[in-house]
């Protein structure tokens, strides 16, 4: 509860701050302070000190899984602010408002990690999405941004419609007539038709939110069209929050009927892996390539839904951390560039050795090379899937796709180290000393998590 309330409050603070802040850099510091406060509040709650004793009537339930995820999200956000806080100025003049929207998103994130009724899920999803619709279009005079915003909005609203229909059918179908996800008692028999249809609809809506194929179409366009700063945020924190909600909902409500709908997950996972990885191969813009790659990562995270066991839970948490941090890291570099194409990376190893090295670490992590967090993340989700024991071909398919993913990630690495710089492209990438330090810390975090995944996972059993 701490996180929800604090983030909502801080959103308001930032909103009001828009009136009072005179210097354009002030909001950044306030935002950093805010995220640290929220993080601290969340950690205190994790260690047993909630500030607010609100009776939620069981609509929110704060378990270690959700709280750890919150912390991961807040730490990622903190890194994001530290790295790219200044770059919000590139979007427009309402810096403080942008931050305020981000805090509202974080409020949604905290709700999604702790909801216990479909109502809260719905509200959480909306609180997560609506600020993102706005942020996507926040660069008002950028036609691509506008287009992305409208696409995102229309499709998001459409998927909301689907989800609501699903919720309604599930409500009608379960004998208790409850919205509480732990009370939706399905028994162990055959899925009733109402529930079955409702489940598919919710599945589709959630798959849309996490950009799983074939409901992913918005993702490349929106990630590409949105300002890079915003893309970085919504590709990571917003997306994994949706995943956490997805996992939470399906493991709690439908876990007992797991094998009656596993086939659907198999199809979605396979399609997501295939489309994400294959399409990414041909991209020229790194930003868009990463958009597709985020789809492929969604495919890997889908494995946690495929397996729905404790390893999957651990895996999802870890994947969230590994994926978010690495993506924020690589985006931090991209945001500093003016040209997002792969040529823009040519010769980065010569021009900016430190950026090159850290980018390489992030890319290696995204590929899933050992010693980076990305490997342990993939390892956990694959382990979860193998543990489940069904449909092992899917696992093999996944690793083939992971090998394909090496093609596009390494293309960037090749550009960084093995190609000569193109004159006039990204020639002056100005980064501050502080930025470099944070980037190094971020990369260090990736490697640290790659060596000691227990740093995240063991908290589950704290």
């Amino acid at each position: 509860m701490n996180a929800i309330i604090l983030s909502a409050l801080w959103g308001v603070v930032m909103m009001l701050g828009g009136v009072f802040f005179k210097k354009s850099t002030t909001p950044k510091y306030w935002a950093i302070a805010g995220i640290i406060i929220i993080l601290a509040g969340n950690l205190l709650e994790f260690f047993g000190h909630p500030f607010f004793n609100v009776d939620t009537k069981g609509m929110l339930r704060f378990d270690s899984f959700g709280l750890i995820f919150n912390s991961i999200a807040f730490i990622s956000t903190l890194l994001f602010f530290l790295l790219n806080g200044r770059d919000f100025e590139k979007i427009g003049i309402h810096v403080s408002e942008y931050f305020s929207l981000i805090f509202f998103v974080l409020c949604g994130v905290s709700i999604l990690s702790s909801f216990n009724t479909l109502l809260m899920l719905f509200l959480g999803i909306e609180i997560l999405s609506i600020p993102l619709y706005i942020l996507t279009g926040s660069e008002k005079r950028n036609l691509k941004g506008n287009e992305a915003s409208l696409k995102y909005f229309l499709m998001g609203a459409f998927s909301t419609g689907l989800m609501l229909m699903g919720i309604a059918l599930i409500y009608g179908g379960n004998s208790l007539g409850s919205f509480y996800i732990d009370a939706i008692n399905l028994g162990s028999g055959h899925l009733s038709v109402l529930i079955g249809v409702g489940l598919v609809l919710i599945l589709v809506a959630m798959a849309f939110k996490v950009s799983a194929a074939p409901f992913h179409f918005w993702a490349p366009d929106v990630y590409d069209g949105a300002p890079a700063v915003v893309t970085s945020f919504m590709m990571t924190i917003a997306k994994v929050a949706a995943f956490v909600a997805f996992f939470r909902l399906f493991s709690t409500s439908f876990g007992s009927m797991h094998y009656q709908w596993q086939t659907l997950i198999v199809i979605i996972t396979a399609a997501t892996l295939l489309i994400g990885n294959i399409t990414a191969v041909f991209q020229i813009s790194v930003k868009r390539m990463l958009a597709y790659s985020s789809i492929s990562h969604a495919g890997f995270m889908m494995f946690t839904l495929f397996a729905l066991n404790t390893t999957a839970k651990e895996g999802l948490l870890f994947y969230a951390a590994a994926y978010s941090i690495a993506t924020i890291g690589i985006f931090a570099v991209i945001i500093k560039m003016s040209d997002y194409s792969i040529e823009g990376f040519n010769g980065l190893g010569k021009r900016q050795p430190l950026l090159a090295l850290t980018s390489t670490i992030f890319l290696l992590s995204l590929t899933g090379i050992p010693l980076t967090a990305g490997f342990m993340a993939k390892f956990y989700v694959l382990m979860a899937a193998v543990k489940d024991g069904h449909q092992l071909w899917l696992v093999i398919f996944a690793v083939i796709c992971a090998a394909i993913s090496a093609i596009y990630y390494f293309r960037v690495i090749q550009a960084i180290y093995f190609k000569d710089p193109v004159p006039g492209v990204n020639e002056n990438i100005a980064v501050s000393q502080g930025f470099e330090w944070i980037l190094v810390i971020t990369a260090g975090l990736i490697i640290l998590l790659g060596i000691l995944p227990g740093l995240v996972i063991d908290w589950l059993y704290y």
Binding site: E97, I134, R141, L143
Partner: protein
């Protein structure tokens, strides 16, 4: 046939006709008006089901506020039938066919659902403002408060986007 049944069929026919009108009419203004008809029909259904509060809210919020907003926007943009060029006919066909298929699939599936023939109970007071209000401010106060965050962000968004900035180049 009871009166409620007659009303049900009438309102249903009205709603479906209105809905078809929404998607079929060339002129956006007609679409809006058709949608208003649908909303009224649905409100009628609510009343049939003894959910008076929702019926009123539906009319006030949807038919009143939201639809007027739509209408304003359409007027503002001065849209009319000619502004919408003919869409690719195949895409249209595909859309209609897949939508109809979806409908058939869903109807066929749900026709055999376990609850399909449960008879609805009428005549209780839960749909009245009083009972709903009590529930809202007792059990549902947290989501109610949280929805304020939603509104705040929507508000900021509307301002942020709607406000006219000093003219910059279109990218």
């Amino acid at each position: 046939m009871e009166i409620t049944h007659i009303l049900f069929w009438f309102l249903s026919a009205l709603a479906i006709a209105g809905a078809i009108g929404v998607i079929a009419s060339k002129n956006p203004i007609y679409s809006v008006l058709c949608l208003v008809i649908v909303f009224f029909a649905i409100s009628g259904h609510y009343i049939l089901m003894n959910a008076q509060f929702l019926a009123i809210v539906n009319i006030i919020v949807y038919a009143g506020a939201i639809m007027v907003l739509f209408l304003f926007v359409i007027m503002l943009m001065n849209l009319n039938a000619e502004t919408e060029p003919v869409k690719n006919i195949y895409m249209k066909m595909a859309g209609v066919i897949s939508g109809l298929t979806l409908m058939i699939v869903l109807v066929a599936a749900l026709a055999h659902s376990e609850n399909a023939n449960v008879v609805m109970r009428a005549g209780t007071s839960i749909g009245l403002t009083e009972s709903l209000g009590k529930a809202l401010f007792n059990n549902y106060v947290v989501p109610f408060e949280i929805s304020s965050v939603l509104f705040l962000s929507a508000m900021i968004g509307a301002i942020l986007i709607g406000k006219k900035d000093s003219a910059t180049e279109i990218k």
